[in-house]
């Protein structure tokens, strides 16, 4: 059984906003990336998983329990980090941690203490005056304090400084190694790239793609950048390619006499056969990143899917 199940979830907020027929599962021990532009519906989906909102259609389960019907039960082994950090203002950080521990019936505070030390949290001050990053750390500590098996994290690193972001990524990896199941909504590619096993992309309330990250990383095609020494050479290359159709040109920069080509690993010798007849200034491989792949989904006007992504 999947740890998190979202089945045909629909919530229409009107005028095209909300989520529509969203379906995905998160398996045990998996880190699942949840990506999409602002307003795509990530937080809305998470709201339903947490049992805060009632689905118009469809259903969400946590460990097989219906989120809407048993919201209190699902929280026992679930850690939640809200996207917006809105802490109760009347308390100090220490009081807030104490309150969350009491609400969870947590007595042993050693793990909490370790987390506080790890994230260099200074919880003594009032929550009203705390810096954004400090509040975020506080929320992280309270989400992980009861060492839950399942974690739902909505943009966990926004507001953290780069060092802390890196540390958080390491922390997620450790937790994953300990068998935790994590749903991670994020806008930061490096974070997703470094931690996620599978990734779902949501846009305008609809899930448009779900894929295994490693399939992309170990893609069987490579991209190379070529720069020619003269305009003539550049044009000759282009016309030859157009005629023979042997290579796939991804993009060109006419004023710099540059072209990007994509080749299957099996065809790499063919590439060299062709370019050996040209006067080249340089030749380099462009390393693949998930970012290149994702950018197209963020493009509001661009076509969905397809291989014509623009890098650089």
């Amino acid at each position: 059984m999947s740890v998190l199940q979202v089945e045909n979830l629909t919530k229409d907020y009107g005028s095209g906003r909300g989520v529509f027929d969203v379906t995905f599962n998160v398996e045990r021990g998996e880190v699942f990336g949840f990506l999409g532009p602002n307003g795509a519906g990530k937080t809305t989906t998470i709201r339903h998983i947490m049992g805060f909102s009632k689905p118009q259609e469809g259903v969400t389960y946590v460990e097989g329990m219906n989120s809407w019907l048993e919201p209190a039960k699902i929280q026992r082994d679930l850690g939640y980090l809200p996207g917006e950090i809105a802490l109760p203002e009347a308390l100090t950080g220490t009081q807030f941690i104490k309150m969350m521990a009491d609400l969870r019936g947590l007595q042993n505070m050693t793990h909490t203490g370790e987390l506080i030390a790890k994230f260099e949290l200074e919880p003594a001050g009032g929550l009203k005056r705390m810096s954004l990053g400090m509040k975020r750390k506080l929320a992280i500590v309270t989400a992980f304090m009861h060492d839950p098996q399942v974690l739902v994290l909505d943009e966990p690193t926004s507001g953290l400084d780069p060092l802390m972001q890196d540390m958080f990524i390491e922390f997620i990896k450790e937790e994953k190694a300990r068998g935790k199941t994590i749903l991670l909504s994020s806008h930061i590619f490096s974070e997703v790239d470094a931690t996620c096993d599978r990734i779902a992309i949501i846009k305008e309330g609809r899930l448009i793609s779900t894929f295994v990250a490693d399939d992309l990383r170990h893609s069987s095609s490579k991209t190379f950048k070529l720069e020619f020494n003269s305009k003539d050479e550049f044009e000759r290359f282009r016309s030859e390619i157009e005629e023979t159709q042997k290579l796939e040109v991804v993009s060109v920069k006419r004023h710099r006499n540059q072209a990007k080509v994509q080749v299957e690993d099996a065809d790499v010798n063919g590439l060299f056969a062709i370019i050996s007849g040209y006067d080249l200034k340089f030749f380099s491989e462009i390393k693949f990143t998930l970012e290149d792949y994702f950018m197209k989904f963020y493009d509001r006007t661009g076509s969905e899917g397809g291989a014509n992504y623009a890098a650089n």
Partner: protein, 462 residues
């Protein structure tokens, strides 16, 4: 059922607000109670009697002469409504809607705490904070009545009854029932007058007036009639031997003697009434003259006629100016001063039961009002919407209530206001209020139930 950690947080977030409002309420209550002076109030009301202001205030003026009456009009008709209401409006919104709006509710609900437990805890806090507010005000109020006006618990006795009881070796209650005993004992008469800080002449008049009132009461009871009817027409008394006997017993004289005495008094009163206009004019001239001698305003002197008695010159001036013999003027002054003493007796009557009922009523009203604010706080996700109705409706009720009070033509507005169900005047003047109180309680229960149910079922944008 309830969540202790949430209660703790709620207490931390709200105790200052509660302290401020409870503090102000207590101070206002103490001030209202301590400035009350029954003698002064009754003279003031006497002065106002025929002015346009009195007409506006209607029958409220009468009730102002007692402490509870004044409290019911002043404090429980105004401050004890608006101040807790403001507290409720702020607290109710902050307990639910503001936390949903801000998003901090997400933390509470991301623990194994049921929504029901959250909303029950917050409701319990709001109800008990309002209850404790009135509990504190009640205790402070009672202590203040005890400290300032004395003798709250047990039967209340006037100072003269206490003083006389020592001399006659009877307890105070017996003295109260047999005032005629004082008349028959020179020493007791002097002690009673001293205790009241008036001279024996005035005390004598006072005792006679007091006994007459009691006699009429006794007669009224025997006749099964209202005391007021007898006061208007004492001749009724003469028609019934039982009534006459009852009244005579109070006066401490045989029935026949009292009958004769009463007949004479009724005749005299008729004669007086015929020339009362003339008499009043003469008296007014006398007071003006006395005021000149004493170098005070005539209007001030009306309230303290004792000064004329104290000054031989003023008395002579008054007698000359009015053309009345000095004895007559003294008599009038004495009966005026005795009336003040009677008013004082009325004013110090304080029923703890009525006072508790006043506070219970105010609490029930606030329970219902807090039901309104709490319900809207539960229903709406945005503070501004929760406040629009949760604050708007109670304030509208208050405004309607005020409008209904200031003008007869707007009286219909009272039917639009929940506050009408708490009729403080009715509580202290023996009117009926039980049904209204029950309705307030029921309204509160229903509103809280609706609110809690709505919160458990709604979509939370957290």
């Amino acid at each position: 059922m309830f969540s202790k950690p949430i209660l703790k947080q709620t207490l931390k977030a709200n105790y200052k607000l509660w302290l401020i409002f409870t503090g102000i309420l207590c101070v206002m209550s103490v001030m209202t109670i301590s400035v009350f002076d029954p003698k002064m109030m009754s003279t003031m009301m006497e002065m106002l009697k025929d002015t346009p202001m009195a007409e506006m205030a209607g029958d409220k003026l009468d009730s102002m002469t007692t402490l509870l009456g004044m409290l019911s009009q002043n404090f429980y008709g105004m401050l004890a409504v608006i101040l807790p209401m403001i507290f409720i409006i702020i607290a109710a919104n902050s307990l639910i809607a503001a936390q949903v709006d801000r998003g901090s509710m997400a933390y509470l609900l991301s623990t194994p705490t049921k929504r029901g437990a959250v909303v029950r805890t917050q409701a319990a806090f709001l109800i008990s904070s309002v209850f404790c507010m009135f509990l504190v005000v009640t205790v402070v109020g009672l202590s203040c009545v005890q400290l300032v006006h004395k003798g709250l618990w047990g039967e209340k006795f006037t100072p003269d009854a206490v003083a006389v009881s020592r001399i006659l070796d009877l307890d105070e209650a017996e003295i109260g029932d047999n005032l005629s005993l004082i008349l028959k004992n020179e020493e007791a008469l002097q002690a009673g007058a001293d205790a009241r800080q008036i001279d024996p002449d005035v005390y004598l008049v006072y005792l006679n007036q007091k006994m007459t009132i009691k006699a009429y009461d006794a007669a009224a009871a025997a006749l099964g009639k209202d005391a007021e009817e007898i006061t208007k027409n004492p001749a009724l008394l003469l028609q019934s031997p039982e009534a006459l006997a009852a009244a005579a017993k109070v006066m401490g004289v045989p029935a026949e003697a009292y009958g004769a005495q009463l007949t004479a008094a009724i005749e005299q009163q008729g004669a007086m009434a015929a020339q009362s206009m003339e008499l009043q004019n003469k008296m007014a001239a006398g007071i003006s003259a006395a005021a000149e001698v004493l170098d005070v305003e005539a209007s001030d002197l009306v309230n303290s006629m004792g000064k004329i008695k104290a000054s031989k010159e003023a008395l002579t001036a008054a007698a000359t100016a009015s053309g009345l013999p000095e004895e007559n003027i003294l008599g009038m002054i004495n009966s005026q001063l005795a009336a003040d003493e009677l008013a004082y007796d009325d004013g110090i009557v304080f029923s703890v039961r009525d006072y508790l009922m006043l506070n219970l009523g105010a609490f029930l009203l606030m329970f219902a009002i807090s039901g309104i604010s709490f319900m809207f706080s539960c229903i709406f996700n945005l503070s501004k919407n929760s406040l629009a109705l949760g604050a708007g409706l109670p304030i509208a009720f208050f405004v309607f209530q005020i409008m209904a009070q200031i003008s007869d033509s707007l009286e219909g507005f009272k039917y639009l206001s929940l506050i009408t169900l708490f009729d403080a005047g009715a509580v202290v003047s023996g009117g009926s209020f039980g049904v209204q109180f029950a309705v307030l309680g029921a309204v509160g229960v229903v509103l809280y139930a609706i609110g809690m149910n709505a919160f458990c079922k709604k979509d939370l944008p957290l």
